[in-house]
């Protein structure tokens, strides 16, 4: 009889799916690259420089924090810091100095992530907290650092209106100045404050909601943060993530649906006269909807909870766009909903199989 062999023991199950955290994170990095190409196309090499600075700072900060806390430093290369660095850079205007995303990334990783215990333990989205930190600290840079997207015509670079509306008309009427350097949402916000001039307000809004404008929004031929402008490239990334099984669609769909609904409901001056498509495509909603609302660490785990989260974030986005102090509400809406995530999880815990709702 053969010698009996001895084996290592381990807990069940002994097989597992091919998903792992590292792979998911790098998949997100891959999915974010098309938008980077668009950024290079529209904003020039400067955009790449800012993104590189941001990602470098994020990974370095992660490494330093882990080292300082005497934790395994290989976690710094699991890709999550890269995602945070990328998304932070995607959330700043292209005209800011290089140190701005560096400071933002360092804050995002050191304070918003590692101080809370690192990957998986943070309560709010690090990239977005980093962005909010930058807005509060350097408001001038963060609200005035827009640069207009570049366009090529007959082989030559021409500047177009950053707000993405057809420009000739505006130049003639002398209103061009009124919207200079703005983004579409900035332009929209301004129309809300021209209460005394309903016609002018209405006219500019009609231009913003026009087909031409929507087309520009879709392609990314508008002013905005580095990674948020080109909807089509973001879609490409999102499709990749869906194919790889990384994205669960409850969050993005409920968020986008809610933005569209409330955008139509009160995204114009009055009721029911907003343009849902404009509100979906402008600003950070697409970037946020596929890449930030979906940050699993800071969003609910239950199915119902994810839907509630998406609807709430969509509502807050539109409330801030319409009545708030900022032209865009995407990032704050996600941060605010992040605060409620534990409560949402708690109150949407599913009834387990075979359990009946208790009366009363």
């Amino acid at each position: 009889m053969a010698e009996n062999r001895v084996f290592d023991i381990a807990v069940s199950p002994h097989v597992g799916s091919s998903q792992n955290t590292r792979r998911i994170m790098w998949d997100v990095v891959i999915a974010l690259t098309p938008a980077l190409i668009a950024a290079f196309w529209f904003f020039g090499p400067r955009a790449i420089m800012l993104v590189a600075a941001s990602v470098g700072a994020a990974v370095l900060t992660e490494w330093l924090c882990l080292k300082f806390m005497k934790r395994p430093v290989n976690f710094a290369f699991d890709g999550s810091a890269v995602v945070t660095g990328l998304l932070l850079a995607y959330n700043v205007p292209a005209g800011v100095p290089w140190w701005l995303p560096v400071v933002g990334s360092a804050f995002a990783i050191a304070v918003a992530k590692q101080a809370f215990g690192g990957l998986g333990h943070n309560i709010v989205n690090p990239a977005l907290l980093g962005r909010a930190f930058l807005v509060a600290s350097f408001p001038v840079l963060m609200t005035a650092g827009w640069i207009a997207p570049m366009q090529w015509k007959d082989g030559e670079r021409i500047d177009v209106q950053a707000c993405g509306v057809p420009t000739a008309h505006l130049m003639e009427s002398g209103e061009l100045d009124a919207l200079s350097g703005a983004t579409p949402l900035n332009a929209l916000k301004q129309t809300f404050s021209w209460e005394g001039e309903p016609e002018r307000s209405e006219e500019v809004r009609a231009m913003l909601f026009s087909k031409e404008s929507i087309k520009n929004l879709f392609m990314g031929r508008i002013g905005g943060c580095i990674g948020e402008t080109s909807v089509i490239m973001l879609f490409l990334g999102a499709i990749y993530l869906i194919l790889r099984g990384v994205l669960e669609l409850r969050l993005p769909l409920s968020y986008l649906g809610s933005v569209a609904l409330f955008g139509w409901l009160f995204g114009g001056q009055g009721w029911f006269d907003g343009n849902p498509l404009f509100h979906l495509l402008a600003g950070g909603v697409i970037l946020g909807g596929f890449f930030m609302v979906t940050d699993m660490v800071t969003t609910p785990v239950t199915k119902k909870g994810r839907i509630i989260f998406g609807i709430g974030a969509g509502l807050l986005t539109m409330v801030i766009r319409r009545w708030g102090g900022y032209p865009e509400g995407c990032s704050y809406s996600i941060l605010l909903m992040n605060l409620g995530t534990p409560l949402i999880d708690r109150y949407t815990k599913p009834l387990s199989f075979g359990e009946v709702k208790k009366n009363g």
């Binding site: 408001p139 001038v140 609200t143 005035a144 002398g174 209103e175 100045d177 009124a178 301004q190 404050s193 102090g325």
Partner: protein, 203 residues
């Protein structure tokens, strides 16, 4: 019963002593506080009206019944103060403009001469964002553009003021607009009431 009485008495005693002591201190400080508030206002007025003429100035508040106050939601009456020199010559007027800014109602004191030209401005109160709107308090950032303008020239470039319009503070259009429009509103009211006229002044 006696116990409660004693306890109540003690507490009352403490309160009475406290009230008396405070009343005494208050009697000393209240005139100082009032005076110092008055002085602060006076300083501001002198500061702004100093642009009207050199030398000793005196201030007299006007009550103008027919004047419609554009700031009715903040103050019942538009307080206009006439400025005279030591010999009693009427030099111009002071008024306070109220404009709803980003996060506060900004109070701007404006000196205007009798031909409707603004000669001095200062911000009395604002609670705008530090680093953004709060820069209105810094004369070099915004208010320096105000002197020498008449009512119709108070418009931001952004709001259709054209090349002649006012530059807004970087990143603080709302604050800039609030101050600009409130000053224009005050000037318009004075014009309408006939207190100032544009004859011979800047076009």
């Amino acid at each position: 019963m006696g116990e409660i009485f004693k306890v109540g008495f003690m507490l009352m005693l403490v309160a009475v002593i406290a009230a008396v002591a405070l009343g005494y201190v208050n009697s000393i400080t209240s005139p100082i506080i009032a005076e110092q508030k008055e002085q602060a206002k006076l300083d501001a007025m002198i500061d702004v009206a100093g642009s009207l003429a050199m030398g000793e100035l005196s201030f007299d508040s006007l009550s103008i019944p027919e004047l419609e106050n554009p700031y009715a939601e903040v103050d019942e009456t538009l307080a206009v103060v006439s400025v005279t020199d030591s010999t009693g010559n009427e030099l111009g007027y002071l008024f306070i403009a109220y404009g709803k800014g980003y996060s506060s109602t900004i109070q701007t004191m404006v000196a205007v001469n009798s031909t409707g030209t603004v000669t001095g401005t200062t911000v009395l109160y604002q609670q705008e964002t530090p680093g953004l709107g709060a820069n209105v308090s810094n004369p070099d950032k915004f208010l320096y553009q105000f002197d020498g303008r008449i009512a119709s020239q108070f418009l931001l470039k952004k709001d259709g003021g054209g090349d002649e319009g006012l530059d807004s503070i970087t990143g603080s259009t709302i604050t800039s607009r609030a101050v600009t429009n409130s000053v224009r509103g005050g000037l318009d009211a004075l014009l309408e009431a006939g207190i100032i006229t544009l004859e011979g002044g800047a076009q």
